[in-house]
């Protein structure tokens, strides 16, 4: 055991905690609580969560009756979530399928609002400053592992003067610099380090039987890691299946037949606790039917087109393929002096509106960035103490110049640690690693790859 192990063991937060031994009064108290809740009928248990949705659904039904806002293409007025979703499933089945060849990209555009909270600036902890940032996003995804994202960010807006003060006192900018950011990632080529975060999701293998699809979404067994293990989501949450379905609607996808979208909506209609919120207008001005999952804290919501069943808006969701956007967002609001030391950010979409329909294109605009080449390596570089940021920048420029592909800084721990993703032919990547090891300012280089 090393000194560090000894120190860590001695700092165990649970060391002095009174832990309930089996059979102890403390343990029995917790058991009684479990027993009490579990003895309720599932109907009663569910009823508690349904009070608000039922009231809302009733209000919506009344509103539809008297105001006549909803104009279903099918002539009826859906009065409950399952009924409404099954009706949408009928119109979804007439939508055309989208296919992509190996050298093409799926181009999607979005308007969005992102809630970002920073835990650290550089290595300095912050008072958790939080801001809302609008974003206009273009995304290009291939069939493999590449996603390129370009986003134009708005200024940071705050929920209160206190929130603004926390942001400013952490040294963060309230205007993004640069306002337009772009990057390409190819995380999928380092299989040990990613969960398939990039590239369009090929869902051609998913079942078109609604009951089978519903089971896979409930159990998280679709086989698509990005969907089965959503980012920062409580799988114990009651709406895990709903959130997985929302991801399938929001992520760039290819290979889906009309039958699949129909099956997805039918599967959603079977999820317990799903609620019809009524007819709502999205932030982009479209009108659709809004559905919410069953959750007591952060409630995911989708607004679906009444004429096609397509997603018009998703609210309160994390979407894997926008990870690079989150990272760029952080960098844009860091002052110049901290650009290289980075920070910690947690972000999620308050709302995300797809604009238009995805199209198939043959290339990514050059201004967005070079598409990464396989193979990739993720490299942890530790600088020697006293290394300056200009020296680090010069080293990175030097590394980039040795690669015909691209060098992407995927994450930075602190001033002395850099995490690089190198993309290019193997001989070039190996040469770049060799040069990094030989640099006088580098203490160590660790290479990770699959």
């Amino acid at each position: 055991m090393t000194d560090l192990d000894t120190l860590l063991k001695s700092a165990d937060p649970a060391r002095d905690v009174a832990v309930p031994a089996p059979g102890s009064m403390h343990a029995e108290r917790i058991w009684a609580r479990v027993n009490e809740c579990s003895s309720q009928s599932p109907h009663l248990h569910r009823a508690r969560w349904l009070v608000v949705p039922v009231v809302l659904a009733a209000a919506v039904a009344i509103a539809l009756l008297f105001v006549g806002v909803a104009s279903s293409p099918l002539g009826g007025r859906p009065n409950s979530a399952p009924v409404a979703l099954r009706r949408l499933a009928l119109v979804a089945s007439v939508q055309p399928a989208l296919t992509l060849t190996g050298h093409q990209y799926l181009h999607s555009s979005y308007d969005a609002s992102v809630q970002a909270t920073l835990s650290t600036v550089g290595s300095n902890p912050t008072p958790w400053p939080s801001a809302t940032v609008s974003a206009t996003i273009d995304q290009w995804s291939d069939l493999g592992t590449v996603t390129c994202t370009q986003a134009t960010l708005g200024s940071a807006t705050f929920s209160s003067s206190g929130a603004k003060a926390a942001w400013t006192s952490s040294g963060l900018l309230d205007q993004p610099s640069p306002a337009t950011t772009s990057s390409c990632s190819s995380a999928g080529t380092v299989a040990s380090l990613n969960r398939g975060d990039s590239g369009a999701i090929n869902i051609s293998s998913l079942p078109v039987d609604p009951s089978v699809l519903a089971r896979e979404l409930t159990d998280g067994t679709t086989g698509i890691t990005r969907v089965d293990q959503p980012m920062d989501q409580s799988l114990a949450g009651l709406d895990a299946a709903f959130q997985r379905a929302v991801l399938l609607l929001a992520e760039p996808t290819v290979g889906a037949t009309p039958q699949f979208w129909s099956a997805l909506l039918r599967a959603m209609s079977t999820f317990p606790g799903i609620t019809l919120l009524g007819t709502e207008t999205t932030h982009s001005g479209a009108t659709g039917l809004a559905f919410a999952g069953e959750n007591d804290s952060v409630q995911a919501v989708v607004v679906l087109s009444p004429s096609t069943g397509a997603l018009l808006e998703a609210r309160n969701i994390d979407v894997y393929s926008f990870l690079s956007l989150y990272n760029n967002l952080l960098t844009s609001f860091l002052p110049a002096a901290e650009k290289f030391s980075g920070g910690g950010v947690s972000a999620a979409f308050q709302w995300l509106d797809p604009i238009g329909t995805p199209s198939v294109v043959d290339s990514v605009p050059a201004a967005v960035g070079q598409v990464p080449l396989a193979p990739s390596a993720t490299i942890d570089v530790t600088m020697k103490p006293g290394t300056t940021q200009p020296e680090v920048k010069a080293l990175l420029d030097d590394t980039s110049s040795q690669l015909k592909g691209t060098t992407t800084i995927t994450g930075i721990g602190d001033a002395l640690h850099l995490e690089l993703t190198l993309n290019g032919p193997a001989d070039q990547v190996n040469a770049a690693v060799k040069a990094l090891r030989a640099s006088s300012i580098v203490a160590s280089v660790v290479v990770f790859t699959s």
């Binding site: 905690v17 309930p20 031994a21 114990a236 949450g237 160590s444 660790v446 990770f448």
Partner: protein, 194 residues
């Protein structure tokens, strides 16, 4: 049995009899580990620990048919605990703005524990994934393979996170850690360099 009775019986089917079943055995055998896990995750503010532990077992009760046999059952429970704690944190983050106004006058709860050491402070400053890896591997004593099952990632990813965490910790605490200093690349990860 009437059709209605059958329908209700089917919906109630997953509910075990809590008094004398495998579920009670699971509870008795795992409560110590689960409670410690939650305490570590919540430290230093343990006021919600009992509630979260109860919630974890409620999830286990609802999904009793999904619980794997020992020893995987503990890993499964820790996976549930991880998600319940994450869910709790998200809820807390939503309430943070309200709490911020109250924090100055907040009394120290009797269940709060003293955890102000430099070491713990250093652990708290680790990126979330690395902190979680240290939590599971060092404090929970799980193997990297078992920790990977709890997190839902590859054992290699856990090894990498632990390695990075150790290096950051040894740097921050200014100690030499031979494990952190070791280069993982070639042998451990099958990467061939020139």
């Amino acid at each position: 049995m009437s059709p209605l009775d059958r329908e209700q019986g089917e919906e109630d089917a997953p509910r075990p009899d809590l008094g004398h079943t495998r579920f009670r055995v699971l509870y008795d055998e795992s409560i110590l580990r689960v409670y410690r896990y939650v305490s570590r995750a919540l430290a230093p503010h343990l006021v919600d620990a009992d509630d979260l532990v109860a919630e974890i077992y409620l999830v286990a009760w609802r999904r009793i048919d999904d619980v794997p046999p020992p020893p995987e059952d503990l890993l499964w429970l820790l996976g549930v605990a991880r998600n319940v704690v994450a869910h709790h944190r998200r809820s807390m983050a939503r309430r943070r703005r309200v709490q911020d106004r109250l924090v100055r006058e907040r009394p120290v709860h009797e269940s709060d524990v003293e955890v102000s050491s430099d070491v713990l402070d250093a652990v708290r400053h680790l990126p979330h994934r690395e902190r979680e890896a240290i939590h599971l591997v060092v404090w929970e004593g799980l193997s990297t393979e078992d920790a990977a099952k709890v997190i839902g990632c590859s054992p290699n990813a856990v090894r990498i996170r632990v390695h990075r965490a150790r290096r950051r910790l040894s740097d921050r605490l200014r100690i030499n850690d031979p494990i952190a200093d070791r280069d993982l690349s070639a042998s451990a990860l099958n990467w061939e360099l020139p």
